[in-house]
Subunit: 410 residues, 2 copies
Amino acid sequence: MRLLNVDTIDEARGKLLENAAGKIPGVEYIDFSKGRNRVLAEDITAAENVPGFNKSTVDGYAVRAKDTQGVSESIPVFLDVVGEVSMGEAAAKIIFPGQACYVPTGGMLPEGADSVVMIEHTEKFDENSIAVYDSVSVGRNVISAGEDIGMGTVFLRKGTLMRPQDTGVLASAGVSQIPVFKPWKVTVISTGDELAGADGAIKPGQTRDINTHSLSAAAEKNGFVVAEKLVLKDDRDAIKNAISKTMDVSDVVIVSGGSSQGDKDYTADIMDELSDVGVFTHGIAVKPGKPTILAYDGKSGTILAGLPGHPVAALLIFELFIAWLYRQLTCQKEPKKTIARITENVPSAGGKATCMPLELKEGSDGVYDAIPVLGKSGLMTVLTRADGYTLTDTNSEGLKQGEFVEVTLF
Amino acid sequence: MRLLNVDTIDEARGKLLENAAGKIPGVEYIDFSKGRNRVLAEDITAAENVPGFNKSTVDGYAVRAKDTQGVSESIPVFLDVVGEVSMGEAAAKIIFPGQACYVPTGGMLPEGADSVVMIEHTEKFDENSIAVYDSVSVGRNVISAGEDIGMGTVFLRKGTLMRPQDTGVLASAGVSQIPVFKPWKVTVISTGDELAGADGAIKPGQTRDINTHSLSAAAEKNGFVVAEKLVLKDDRDAIKNAISKTMDVSDVVIVSGGSSQGDKDYTADIMDELSDVGVFTHGIAVKPGKPTILAYDGKSGTILAGLPGHPVAALLIFELFIAWLYRQLTCQKEPKKTIARITENVPSAGGKATCMPLELKEGSDGVYDAIPVLGKSGLMTVLTRADGYTLTDTNSEGLKQGEFVEVTLF
């Protein structure tokens, strides 16, 4: 394996996208009401108009707008009431000039009517007629057939991460089955002779494993399914066997720890041996997260990622590369960021992009103050105290107090 | 039932919090690794130090800092190497003045050592000694025992909505069972003679039901469990029976439609009859969403909410009151907003708070432009096109082009 130069974030992303271009997730059809947080795999086209008919948005009288021309509080017009529309039923009558028909909110306008006068602007004159005190224009208080969604038009785009309103709009158009991307299956392996589980006592020198748990949670947050969680000793053969086996059942195999270049850092060599494309990135100019390995195996269709053992770095790299790649391949938009004003100078890391965890507090003018969460590299509580992070450019000179920064919320 | 005045959002929230103060969700214990998106019901205190020992953050030699005083590239100091610490094992030796011990990243410092010199700043002199070319201060390249989390300290607060890093920090401290709030059980009932399901053909005048689906998705998004989804005709007895029955198995019963004051708007009367506290809010000064009913039954511990049939309003009111109340009762922080610059004037709704759906596009200076998503009230596609919304004050004079607004992301 050739040792590669350190890539910038953009370079590493470019290589990942190029090498793993074939990893576009498969498509499955599911019931639309089970689609929350799933990603649409195709544009959704309406097979019917929404609404299906000209619909009143108020309780009132369906009229021909022309009949109300010039009408006002002091100069009413008198119209014959020819009937009443019931909710959920077709309007039976046709409205001719000089006529009106009662229609409730959500009811169907009769043929001939092109607008609705609110009931508040009418008065019963006798059993069969009303006085109208308001002039309405064509379309007033009406949603036309197809005005929300026209039959044959695309109303939800491929790549939509489904929110409650997207579920609602599918219901409105009668789309009951939807094509969504299958979630990636992710295996998370932590390596290290020092690692102990979350249960039971711990011996001096041992450290409880964090990364299988935090990375699995991050995988689930991004809509992935966790295939396996493994904690292994620093044993080359055991690690190689585990990666090899889990490649068959995973779209992504993540190994945290052993990604540096020390004696026991086998991960890069193993990943290179097990993949046909091989390791294409070893080292990324980001702090924390430099010792990151990216490889791809086209045969099995597996992305191999060696992440730092450092739990803060591992979570960051997962978000910056694995979650990002899934969004790219499924045509999703990047999550919206928030804007905040940084409360103190943050020096640059010289040639590396820097991830600065931030706590957000609402400032006096409504804009958030972003307070850097400081602490030695590797402290997990740095991340739990933070609301999000900002990423400075590789060549940035750092951040100046009072400067606006883009914050990615955790 | 007395007819009440229209409340402002804050007035309605105040009444809701006061009347439903007893609805604090119950607590259950779950495995920490299943806690994603659950809310901690108690402060979490550490039963052990994290790390459990003084831990090196680099590969290097554990030393007494005093031994390196005055040392530089040109004036090295020579130290005796008395051993090597293995990962995951207790450091056996004690470091006396003039001695050093190899320690890998994550390894345990031997007693006597107070700092680590990076391996890059040392040179092997002979089998048993090294030259050190760098002066280190006490604590350099070391995380002290308990520096991340001190034994006995609270490291996660009640009300924390669990993120991947929170799962990670629980793992690091060996907390395997966590107390979380039980999710509310929510029943969603849509009423209306015009309503049809999402499947099959639709008759003229019929409208497909949206609200059971969109409100159920919103409930799930907020961590609730959907108890039942019902679509009912505008039949007073049927609606009353359904509410009464579902109150026994629900923390919240939502009825959409029939919340106005027309002939067939029974919801307020029914809710008043079925609850001991009764209806305390009928009408909220917000656009859309005015015809909203809030009631509480202390006997069964059920919040009753009558939401507008208007699907956009129903979703908004659900977020503003039901989701908000759960966050309040579980001590959660409000979700972070983003800041954006509005691209056009938005007139005020005169005495009502206004919810303006917005599309966000990144502006040239990195700050988002917020483009009002216009469309007739009630169009579902207004919400699907929007990234979030801003809420203007009751007494606002509207928004001015270029003004910064707080955007709640959907």
